[in-house]
Subunit: 354 residues, 2 copies
C-alpha cells in the first residue's frame, strides 16, 4: 500500500465529531478516522475543539454555529480551505467536504495537487451550469441519483456514505411503535408519517429539534399516546428509539442525495418504509432492509410487510453496505486514482492557440 498524505477539509461550523446533529461533520470525521486506521498520513482541517486521530490543523478555536462574531461564515470556510491549499506541497490530495458549494472550484486551477469535492446536497441545474466552468474539477457523488444531477461535471466516482455500525446496537424485538427521525420540514414528510401511522393504527414517535414548524404544524397533533414527541435526541437515545421501533417511516417528499438516517435505522435492525424519491432505492434494498413505496397509500397498506422483514438480516446488510471502512476504502481508491493521474487539465478555451 502507498501511504498517502491526505488533507481532509471539514466544515468549520462546529466541532468534529459533532455534539448534536451534523451529517457532513459526522461523515467527514468517520472518513478521517478510517483513513488513519488504514495507515495514511492524514491532516484534518477543522475547528480547534475537534477530536481526531489525524493531525489537526485548526484555523479557528471553535465553529461559527457557536459564535455570532464569526460572520460571514462563507469566508471562514473559504480561508479554512485556503489554509490547506496553501500547504499543498505537504499533501498528495486535498479533499473538501464543506458548504458553501463548491468553494473548491475557485482553487481548482491554482492547487498543484488534486482537489476533490464531495457534495452533500442535490444541486440545481442553475448551480451545475455555473460549476461547469470547471468541467475537469473532480467531484465524488454520494449516490447515483446525485451523480445524475452533476451531469457535465467530472464525477470520478460514487461513494455511498458510511456510518459507525458498531455504535448502533442491534435489537431483535422492538416495541410497538413506528419512528420518524429527522428535521420537521415539508420535504421530510413528517405530516405524511403521522397520517400513515394513524391510518394503520400504530403509535408514532417523532424525534427532531423543536422549531417553528413543530410549534405551528406538529404540536397540535401530539397527544402523547398515538403521536408522541421525543424532542431532539443524542446518540444513545437515538439508538434506543430506533431499536425500539417496528419500522422507521421515511415518506420523504423531495429528492435527497442520500439518507443517513436510513442506514442508521437498518444498523439497529429496524426496517424502513420509504417513499421512492431521490436516492432512496440506492440506500434501501427493497424487500430486504425495507420496502420502497410509490405513494403514502401504498405505504399505509404495506406497513405490515415492512414489520415482517427479518431484523437480523436488515442489520447484516447495513453493516455490509454502510460500514465506515467500506466508505474509507472506496475513497482511498479514488485518491490513488487521482494521484496517479495528476491534477486534471483544464480544457483549452475555444479559439486558444494549441
Amino acid at each position: 500500500m502507498t501511504r498517502l498524505r491526505i488533507a481532509q477539509v471539514g466544515p468549520v461550523a462546529t466541532a468534529l465529531p459533532p455534539a448534536g446533529s451534523g451529517s457532513v461533520e459526522l461523515v467527514t470525521w468517520l472518513l478521517t478516522e478510517g483513513l488513519v486506521r488504514r495507515g495514511h498520513d492524514v491532516t484534518l482541517f477543522a475547528t480547534g475543539d475537534s477530536t481526531t486521530s489525524a493531525k489537526l490543523a485548526a484555523c479557528y478555536p471553535h465553529g461559527y454555529w457557536h459564535d455570532t462574531t464569526m460572520w460571514p461564515w462563507e469566508l471562514y470556510e473559504m480561508l479554512n480551505l485556503a489554509a490547506a491549499v496553501e500547504r499543498a506541497a505537504d499533501f498528495d490530495v486535498i479533499h473538501f467536504q464543506a458548504a458553501y458549494y463548491p468553494l473548491s472550484l475557485g482553487f481548482a486551477r491554482l492547487c498543484p495537487v488534486p482537489l476533490l469535492q464531495t457534495l452533500h446536497h442535490s444541486p440545481s441545474t442553475d448551480e451545475v451550469r455555473l460549476w461547469s466552468r470547471y468541467p475537469e474539477a473532480p467531484f465524488v457523488a454520494i449516490s447515483n441519483e446525485q451523480a445524475r444531477l452533476l451531469s457535465g461535471l467530472n464525477v470520478v466516482d460514487t461513494v455511498l456514505h458510511g456510518i459507525d455500525t458498531d455504535s448502533f446496537t442491534f435489537r431483535e424485538h422492538p416495541d410497538d411503535y413506528v419512528l420518524f427521525l429527522g428535521r420537521f420540514t415539508d420535504g421530510k414528510g413528517v405530516l405524511q408519517a403521522i397520517d400513515i401511522a394513524r391510518r394503520v393504527g400504530i403509535r408514532i414517535v417523532l424525534a427532531a429539534p423543536e422549531d417553528e414548524y413543530y410549534q405551528t404544524k406538529i404540536a397540535p397533533l401530539v397527544d402523547g399516546t398515538a403521536v408522541e414527541y421525543a424532542g431532539e435526541v443524542g446518540h444513545d437515545d437515538k439508538v434506543t428509539l430506533i431499536g425500539g421501533a417496528r419500522a422507521m417511516l421515511y415518506p420523504v417528499q423531495t429528492g435527497e442525495p442520500f439518507g443517513l438516517v436510513l442506514a442508521e435505522a437498518m444498523a439497529c435492525g429496524t426496517p424502513v418504509a420509504a417513499l421512492d424519491r431521490g436516492a432512496v432505492r440506492e440506500v434501501v434494498e427493497d424487500g430486504v432492509t425495507g420496502i420502497v413505496f410509490d405513494s403514502e397509500d401504498a405505504m399505509a397498506a404495506g406497513l405490515p410487510s415492512v414489520f415482517a422483514l427479518d431484523r437480523r438480516r436488515v442489520r447484516d446488510r447495513s453493516v455490509a453496505r454502510f460500514g465506515a471502512m467500506r466508505m474509507v476504502d472506496e475513497y482511498v481508491a479514488v485518491y490513488e486514482r487521482l494521484v496517479a493521474e495528476g491534477v486534471p487539465r483544464a480544457p483549452v478555451p475555444a479559439g486558444a492557440r494549441p
Copy 2:
C-alpha cells in the same frame, strides 16, 4: 512610464458602469477607464453587458442582481476573481474591488503576482480579527478613517475615491431648497435631515429609491411643499437636483468609510452640511466646501453659513481633490510599488524552522 498589465476585478452584480446606483461599480469603472487613458494594459473582469475601454473578460453575460438563478452570489464573485488569478501570468498586478469581503485573502498566498484589495465598507473588529490571518495581504483604504479600522493589516495606502467631475455641471445660482440624496435608512439620517430643514424653514427635497422604510417612516412626512419626494433619480436628474440645492444635508448617523455623494454635491458647486462621523472630515473641507457639525442642533443653527459658502470655490476644490485622474494616478503609484516589491511574504509561523 512603465506600462503595467493590470487586472481590474469588479463586482459581477450588474454591468459596469451601473445603469442605476452602485458606487463600487462606478468607482471601479472610472478607475479602469482612467488606467486605459494613462496607457496601461488593462483587463476588466466584469459582466458581459459591461462597457469599457479595457479588454473585457466576462465570466457571465449579466449580473446576479438581474438573474435569480445566479445563486449563491458569493460563488459568482469568487469564480470571477479566480478567473483573474488563474491568468496571473498575464498580469503584473490584480486589483479586486467586489464584496463579499475580502474574498481576495483566500487567494493571497496562491497568486504569483500582487493581489490588491480595495475595501468598500467599514469592517468590524471581528472581521479584522479574521482577516489578520493574512497580515501581509495588501489593502488600499478609501479613507484614513477606514485605514484606522484596518489596523494590524497591510494597508499600503489610502486612496480617496474619484468621480467624473466633468459630468457634474457647476451651477452658481441655486433654487431655494436643500437636498437629501442617498438611501432611506436610519444610518443615513433622513429623518434628521427633514427635521433640520423644518426648523430652518427651508424646503427639503428627498431623492432615493422607494422602499419599506420610505412607506412607513418618510411618506407620512411628505407634503409636496415643505417636504418633497423626487423618487430615485438617474444621473442627469441627479445633477439638476444637486445644482439647484442651496446645500446638501448629510446628517449621517453611522461612521461611513467615504461619502461619494458629498464629492458629487461639491462638484456641482453645492456645499454640504454634514455631521462629524466616519470619514466626513476627510471628504469635506470644513469651512470651504461645506461645514462639519457636531450635532443636529448645530447644523440647524449653522445652515445659513453653509449657504454663504462660495460655490465656485466649492466646485474648484472638488475638481482638484476628487477628479478621477487623481485617484487613477494614486492607484498607479500603489501598483508600481507593489510590483517593485513583489508578492508580499507571509510571516513565518511561530515555531517553524528558519
